[in-house]
């Protein structure tokens, strides 16, 4: 997987999403690697730490400058967070700061907010962050997803949130080409202080958590220098399967309270969930719905992939051509190898924990 405009090392790397593009597992991996990253001069801050700052969720207000006091306080607190993270690195002030959060583009859940434009507050939100941190060189890493999957995941999220109505009711804009990936990259690149944007289509990610993390680390620096054995053992997160959505469509309408829905979601992901690398089990849209969405985006995607990832097969962004058997088998084998690796990693960690002198 490659992006355009990768250049000299940055002192600030912002992983900004998109949603449903591996952010969760990447953050879990980076959290595990934090001690090693510090040794290599990298201070990692993740979404959970940002969430402690005031009004991250009210980004629209901050970004629009409706509340300058709030914006100033956010800037101060973010600055303090970054200084604190750098202080824990051997490199101190020279450390590269990596921050991962979908909120850096102004909103995390994808849905109604994106009705007229993909991540409409992206420039404002990023501008606030960069103004507060004043990096020498800021790199933005953006994982993209095909619009059918973005909409599909957004729909799943809506159902699990208590809205069982069909996609045509909840996403009337689904066939309007408003989720323009190329436009988003251009808006991000135009933010003052952005040195380069690394674009990584999630559909082209390498298989396995370790390979995925390594690919990301190439955008940061020390990709080949870290021990990724613990990362290899990471279980993929669990997400709602198509069955979870079908059952939820049947029951969420009967639920009256927010607490009921929260409880249901936990049960649904435990009972009907699947590993988030299982693309097949999470397909909710029919092929015809998927094709009509992709049809609406055909020209935009052709331009986008042609510019940022030239040479990829058209089926990557243009349709739902069935995979050849060999490809499916290959994926099954790789998945089995991944599972075995994780099991070995877990056993190794347990053995290490049993060593004398370790508690």
């Amino acid at each position: 997987m490659s992006g355009r405009r990768q250049a000299a090392p940055a002192d600030l790397v912002l992983h900004v999403g998109l949603p449903f593009a591996g952010g969760d597992v990447l953050r879990r991996a980076l959290a595990l690697l934090r001690p090693q990253l510090r040794e290599h001069g990298i201070a990692y801050i993740d979404h959970a730490e940002l969430a402690g700052l005031p009004n991250l969720a009210g980004w629209r207000a901050v970004g629009d400058g409706h509340d300058p006091k709030l914006a100033a306080r956010f800037g101060q607190d973010l600055g303090a967070l970054v200084r604190g993270a750098r202080a824990q690195c051997a490199a101190g002030e020279r450390a590269t700061v990596v921050i991962s959060s979908e909120w850096l583009l102004g909103a995390a859940p994808l849905g109604i907010a994106d009705e007229s434009m993909l991540r409409p507050d992206a420039a404002a939100a990023l501008g606030q962050v960069l103004a507060a941190l004043e990096p020498r060189r800021a790199r933005i890493v953006l994982y993209t997803r095909r619009q059918d999957r973005l909409l599909e995941h957004a729909y799943i999220r809506r159902v699990m949130g208590g809205h069982p109505q069909p996609p045509r009711t909840q996403f009337p804009f689904r066939l309007r080409p408003v989720l323009d990936l190329g436009d988003l990259v251009r808006r991000i690149a135009a933010v003052p202080g952005v040195a380069d944007v690394v674009v990584k289509p999630f559909e082209l990610r390498p298989d396995g958590v370790a390979a995925f993390v390594t690919d990301f680390l190439h955008s940061v620096g020390p990709a080949g220098l870290l021990d990724l054995s613990e990362v290899s053992a990471l279980e993929p997160g669990r997400i709602y399967s198509a069955e979870a959505v079908r059952v939820s469509q049947a029951v969420v309408g009967h639920m009256d309270t927010h607490d009921e829905r929260i409880r249901w979601r936990a049960f649904a992901v435990k009972t009907f969930g699947v590993p988030n690398d299982d693309e097949e089990q999470t397909r909710v849209f029919s092929d015809s719905v998927r094709l009509s969405i992709l049809g609406a985006y055909r020209q935009l995607n052709r331009d986008f992939f042609g510019e940022y990832v030239p040479g990829v097969p058209r089926s990557t962004y243009d349709g739902v051509a069935p995979e050849p058997t060999a490809v499916r088998l290959g994926r099954s084998v790789r998945r089995a190898v991944g599972t075995a690796r994780r099991a070995v990693g877990t056993a190794r960690r347990r053995l290490l924990a049993l060593r004398p002198g370790r508690r």
Binding site: E243, R246, V247, Q249, A250, V251, H254, E260, R263, F267, T271, F272
Partner: protein, 286 residues
């Protein structure tokens, strides 16, 4: 056949009449039974030999052998067994609408397994309207998704008499050795009901019951709606089971209004139709 002095009492159902309550109690209080020279053949063990009556019919010798073995344990004068599936499914698509259509055949086979012992057979029953409602809710609880009206189509409301069951039991052990337990007594509370149930099985089981069983909660109206909507969309028995526990835990009649599935008019009609018979039968247990 060697005649034995050890008496065998078998509780054969019906379903939804406190059977789990009784069976759990007997399992947990084996020592109190032993103090009274009594032994209990556990439900799981019975299930292996009985199934829904099919296993019993295929091999009655297995159950007979088990009863003989338990009866032969020194100091045993009473063997108690309980398994409500022994009389089969209450309703079968090929059962011509009859309540427990396999019961007569299964009970006759049970008679073979009990041959040579003094025998008493116990039948616990509840009024037909409550039985139908409760059994329907159970079917939804276990993954069914038919509405009550559709489910009821398999039932002949004129053939819900318990009398054929009682007569089949009497054929095996004589009418004087048939005992009837009235589930209506559950209104006294679980402990009072259990004491009554145990004494009906045998007067020697005169334990003072202190039993804090986890209540087998029923689905509320809300839980029932959710189960009906969801069950058809769930792919495996394991997931249906998980769903069942989830709904039972969070949407039972302990927290929400109870499910009223049977129209009041039908309820009254069934009461009127079977009340006299029910009172006569439960009078046998007094």
């Amino acid at each position: 056949v060697v005649a034995s002095a050890c008496e065998i009492v078998v509780h054969v159902g019906t379903h939804k009449t406190g059977t789990t309550l009784l069976q759990r109690y007997l399992t947990k209080h084996a020592h109190e039974l032993a103090e009274r020279d009594a032994r209990y053949v556990e439900r799981e063990e019975m299930a292996q030999m009985v199934g829904w009556g099919n296993r019993l019919r295929a091999d009655p010798q297995a159950l007979r052998q088990r009863f003989d073995d338990v009866a032969a344990v020194p100091g045993t004068s009473l063997v108690v067994a309980s398994h409500e599936d022994l009389i089969g499914h209450p309703f079968r698509s090929d059962g011509d609408g009859l309540l427990y259509p396999s019961a007569a055949e299964n009970i006759a086979t049970l008679g073979q397994a009990l041959d040579g012992h003094p025998v008493r057979l116990v039948l616990s029953i509840r009024p037909q309207d409550g039985f139908l409602e409760s059994y329907y809710l159970q079917s939804v609880h276990e993954g069914g998704h038919k509405s009550f009206e559709r489910w009821l189509q398999q039932v002949d409301l004129d053939r819900l008499s318990y009398r054929p069951l009682v007569e089949a039991l009497a054929t095996v052990c004589g009418a004087e050795n048939v005992r009837i337990v009235d589930f209506g007594r559950i209104k006294q509370g679980a402990e009072g009901f259990l004491e009554y149930f145990l004494r009906t099985i045998d007067p020697r089981l005169d334990m003072s019951v202190e039993y804090h069983a986890s209540h087998n909660r029923s689905l509320s109206a809300k839980g029932l709606q959710m189960a009906l909507a969801a069950n058809a969309r769930i792919s495996t028995p394991e997931k249906r089971r998980a769903m069942r526990f989830y709904l039972q835990k969070h949407y039972s009649n302990a927290d929400y209004p109870r499910a009223e599935v049977m129209p009041a008019e039908l309820k009254q009609q069934l009461r009127k139709r079977y009340q006299d018979e029910y009172e006569q039968l439960t009078g046998l247990g007094e």
